[in-house]
Symmetry: C2
Subunit: 657 residues, 2 copies
């Protein structure tokens, strides 16, 4: 047994969300989020009854201050040994922390703080405390996020202009260390995801003025290049400390095409960089937690780390606390992705305990969304709402189809989440079905075999986003799916999606329908295209027709584009899910199927994590080998189903997946 | 024009409430409150459109960090001069402060931060910002409460035991300053409201260990005596810095009886000590803001300082923020006092702006209370509720009459508050009237001419508290009032109230019914009794039969009793309201009456503040003089009504008030 720091469950995420969201910088400006952020309970009370087989001592330490009440009697201060006799004892701790995260840790040979303790926000409702295996050391409190650090060195140092340009060889997120500086010489350190950005001092996105010391360890930032334009720079010693959380790559992929292999590796590295306290959108900009971006990260995570903790942390932060006065990140669609994400997390992890913890908040968020429907029962833009869907020319007049489809999927998720909690959620299922019928009635155009973006504008615009959502949310039945693939997705007259964000959903939908050759081509041309331009991480956006530093511009800023963006890591998911063909078929991957598909490649091999286990798939020259350390797997080859045995290779040949 | 620091209105109070409530100590233990405390919005956005007659500069400074957007365009950092041309400009500021109070201050010759700026919690609803005349200096931020300090010296220093005992002559709340200490000598400093407490080291309530420095300025505490038991103490230089907010005594009272005059002065001083960031219960213990205690402080304040700001601050903190998951301070009655207090504050100040600000919160609190009624529509104890009323033997089984009476008064207050906001609140009035009828039906006992505490227990107990509440809340009609006075208040068979808390309501009710002779006797014996024992401030409780240090004990602690408690200051209110006879008769004291009554004294004179003005009343030897600097006054003598003229003396003689 080992004590862990404990806190009000969920407040750890909220606290680190506040800190994270206070760190975004753009030039010399700090940019806080524009939405309402939740806060931790400043005063919380913990309680535990324990059995002591012998007499002993316990001492409670805390972030904050407060007192310990032992056996309902005397009050003791924090940090003082409390003697107890053999027998049953009750310990109550109230801790108050007006400027941080209230949390406690028990030092004792007998009684340990962990999630078995109950905690209350000082109202009558108590829940199990929050804990984390990272916090077993009384000296390392949960107010600090447990990052790891590894020293990295520039791979190239050369003089440039009036100073020195340091190239670390690849995109990183690190604390820059500068030694041997001349005291009292003022310098500016410029950071660049590209060499152009680092040396283009007028428009460099991240920089810092330093002065007065002989050595500096700067706060962590995204960069590959560092430029120090000072005549004393040549004598500086510069290195950096890569800041990360150690997440193990369980997923892997290789094929005969080095470009695709490099895409996979670069996607995996990109995803590492963006997987920190939470799933971030990017590491240079915004370094915020966006529910839409995070939803894709949950999917990719399942095919790379399958780390349930980071998904839970991200969902917990995004949910925040009732009352809900606005949508998540202020965006209607993002509330829906979050509710769907809770169910997807459950399906991926089988973690009913987490669902039961968040369910009261999920229900309030859903009720908030429902409270803002129009008289037809449709999502429309209310004051403070942002109907986003994507940065694209979507007809959002009145009720837009995409929002209703997401509400449909979220309503079905509600029904299933109720079932996970052992409650009857059939009313949500019925509501969803009725909504689906109304969507079909109002937005489906039989003559065009597609959904229109809006039924209110009269424009009758058919676009990719709405129809991708129809596939992704399950709003379209099998017959409509086929029509959409033909009439929209494969219709070159309908403008292409230009963001990797929705491009990912489109590719996913196409792969789901078996169109892997198209995906292979996209991976080569779109992702491979970035690599050919020297990318060491996947960009927020890539438009092949752009030239030179045009690739770095966005949102009206010369280097505004993020060159390391989580949503670019989609191929990790696609290659694992559709090529290696592994997917869970029941909650927690108790059962799963393996349905390999080469997608036009000659040879594929790799691993997919499966909630604590994994599957290895290898295909070459008509020989397929599948290995798993989990029970419950089925290999599917055409109409043939073969049971996979735990810890055994299954070899099939000749085969042509 | 002058810039002031601005913040999200109401968050200043919540922030200082968090700090205040983190400072209670009991022996070596920190005691945070046991209720759920509200928190500030960590990220808020301010906006202002202004007209510049010439070009100029503005610079925004902040507690926290964030950015300024000027004319909807470029983002600027905090602390940087922004140039603007002649014309209309719009300034938007987002500030984030994860560990403090987000607030800003504009440095400019043209544009000033003040409550005319709009502020939002980053949802769509904006309100006017909060400001305060105390914060005009950019170097003095609202994260610090603007206390004043005045040096005070011990009036007596004598050796005692192994050290020195310092007597400051009267109760104070101050930072103790110790100079000329021997470095690295560890000492313990004991504080006492009495000399016995300071020197009884085993049970002293407040003490501090100090070591390692030659001078110390300790954090502010309540004491009259300080004891330093160390052989080096004789060479110490000891003084203290009285910490206070400068509140002007507008009220005054004198009569021929020095004891009563001393009671008034001691009450006024007691009330000063307890009037700080908010109205506190006491200064040694609890130093918390209790809605029940505060309600009496609102009343006393009106007769001493008539300071609207401190009442607003206290109400704002107590209300906190929705959602309400428990009653104020967890006590059902305290929620009702708070709602009534909002209306009483309006009646006293005429401050409709404040009512409009708090009204959404007040309504949610009222709705919370209503949501917890039983099937009969009665207040009962729900999980987490504390049905308090008073520390007394009250029959609280099932629905207790007192709680229903307070709900009646709060419901009437709701109706009136709606009217203040220009809305129709008649449904609350109708609800209240129906409730009153039900209370009469279920709790009034015609045969005994009194209300019973509970109709559910079968005990049919008639007690003072319930019947005092029937008078105080207006539940009892005129006929029942008379019966209650005779059958309960003047009935010596019914046990007396022993706390000054409810004793104040009883005295108020008796004075309201003209029983001033009884009040005069009480002031002499009860309050005068404390003074005769050497009190320099009014105690939490005084039981004449107790002896020696028994007077200092409470809650199981030898010195647990507070010797400086706000609720003891009631005579300031009683002497002003019923003897000088001044009370407002319409909101904001637009009209008021003066109805002097000597209460058996020969000579009375004094002043009562009236929301920015005052009334002076003097009676001696059959000659009455009344002076006021306000319009709207009426002197009432028996059946005679005389109009008071602003800035003129009205002299009536012979008269026998």
């Amino acid at each position: 047994m080992q004590s862990k720091w404990i806190w009000y469950r969920g407040d750890y995420e909220i606290y680190h969300g506040l800190l994270l969201h206070s760190r975004r910088r753009e030039f010399d400006v700090n940019i806080p989020p524009f939405w309402c952020q939740p806060t931790v309970y400043p005063t919380v009370s913990f309680t535990k009854t324990f059995e002591a087989k012998t007499e002993g001592y316990v001492k409670i330490i805390a972030c904050g201050d407060g007192f310990v009440r032992f056996d309902g009697d005397k009050k003791y201060p924090m940090g003082k040994d409390i003697f107890f006799s053999e027998g049953t004892h009750r310990i109550d701790v109230t801790v108050n922390n007006p400027n941080g995260l209230p949390c406690i840790y028990a030092v004792s040979d007998t009684v340990y703080t962990d999630r078995s303790w109950m905690v209350s926000d000082n109202t009558s409702t108590a829940i199990n405390a929050g804990d984390n295996p990272a916090y077993t050391d009384p000296a390392s409190t949960p107010e600090n996020f447990p990052f790891s650090y590894r020293r990295i060195m520039p791979v190239s140092i050369k003089s440039s202009g009036d100073g020195m340009l340091y190239d670390f060889g690849f995109e990183t997120f690190a604390e820059l260390m500068i030694e041997n500086a001349v005291e009292n010489v003022a310098m500016t350190v410029y950071f660049g995801e590209s060499a152009e950005e680092a040396t283009d001092m007028k428009d460099t996105y991240l920089y810092e003025h330093i002065e007065g010391m002989m050595s500096y360890r700067l706060s962590a930032r995204a960069f590959r290049y560092v430029y120090i334009p000072d005549k004393t720079a040549a004598s500086l010693k510069v290195c950096a400390y890569y800041e990360y959380i150690p997440l193990e790559d369980i997923g892997s992929f290789e094929c005969e095409d080095k470009l695709i292999n490099d895409v996979w590796k670069t996607c995996a590295y990109t995803f590492h960089l963006c997987s920190r306290e939470f799933f971030l959108d990017g590491i240079k900009r915004d370094r915020w937690v966006w529910s839409g971006d995070a939803y894709q990260s949950y999917m990719i995570n399942d095919y790379l780390f399958h780390n349930n903790e980071i998904t839970r942390r991200t969902i917990t932060l995004l949910l925040g606390k009732p009352p809900y006065k606005q949508h998540i990140n202020s965006i209607n669609d993002y509330s829906m992705y979050l509710i769907c994400g809770v169910y997807d997390y459950y399906f991926s992890s089988g973690d009913a305990d987490f669902v039961k913890f968040v369910m009261p908040r999920v229900k309030e968020l859903y009720d908030f969304a429902i409270s803002r429907l129009d008289e037809r029962g449709y999502v429309v833009q209310r004051p403070g709402d942002w109907i986003f869907i994507d940065w694209a020319d979507i007809d959002k007049a009145g009720a837009s189809a995409g929002e209703q489809m997401l509400l449909y999927k979220a309503s079905r998720a509600m029904s299933r989440l109720y079932a996970v909690c052992g409650k009857n959620g059939s009313e949500y299922e019925a509501y969803a079905e009725n909504l689906r019928e109304r969507i079909d009635r109002d937005f489906w155009r039989a003559d065009r075999g597609a959904y229109v973006d809006s039924a209110d504008s009269g424009l009758e615009k058919v676009g990719r986003h709405t129809n991708v959502l129809a596939l992704m949310t399950g709003t379209a039945d099998e017959e409509k799916k086929k029509l959409i693939i033909e009439n929209v997705l494969k219709n070159e007259d309908i403008p292409h999606i230009t963001t990797p964000y929705f491009g990912f959903y489109e590719l996913d939908a196409l792969c789901e329908c078996g169109e892997l050759d198209y995906a292979t081509e996209q991976i080569r041309s779109y992702w491979g295209g970035m690599l050919k331009l020297g990318a060491t991480s996947i960009w927020e956006q890539y438009l092949p027709h752009e030239k030179g530093t045009e690739h770095y511009a966005m949102y009206g800023m010369k280097y505004g584009r993020s060159l390391c963006h989580a949503w670019g890591a989609g191929p990790v998911y696609l290659l694992g899910r559709y090529y290696l063909g592994v997917k869970a078929t029941s909650a927690g991957a108790e059962t799963f199927e393996v349905r390999p598909h080469t997608g036009g490649l000659d040879k594929i091999m790799g691993t997919v994590p499966l909630n604590g286990g994994y599957v290895y798939v290898e295909y070459e020259n008509g020989r397929l080998k599948v290995y798993t350390d989990k029970t419950g797997g089925t290999l599917i080859l055409g109409n043939k189903k073969l049971a996979l045995k735990k810890d055994e290779n299954l070899i099939v040949e000749p085969v042509n997946p």
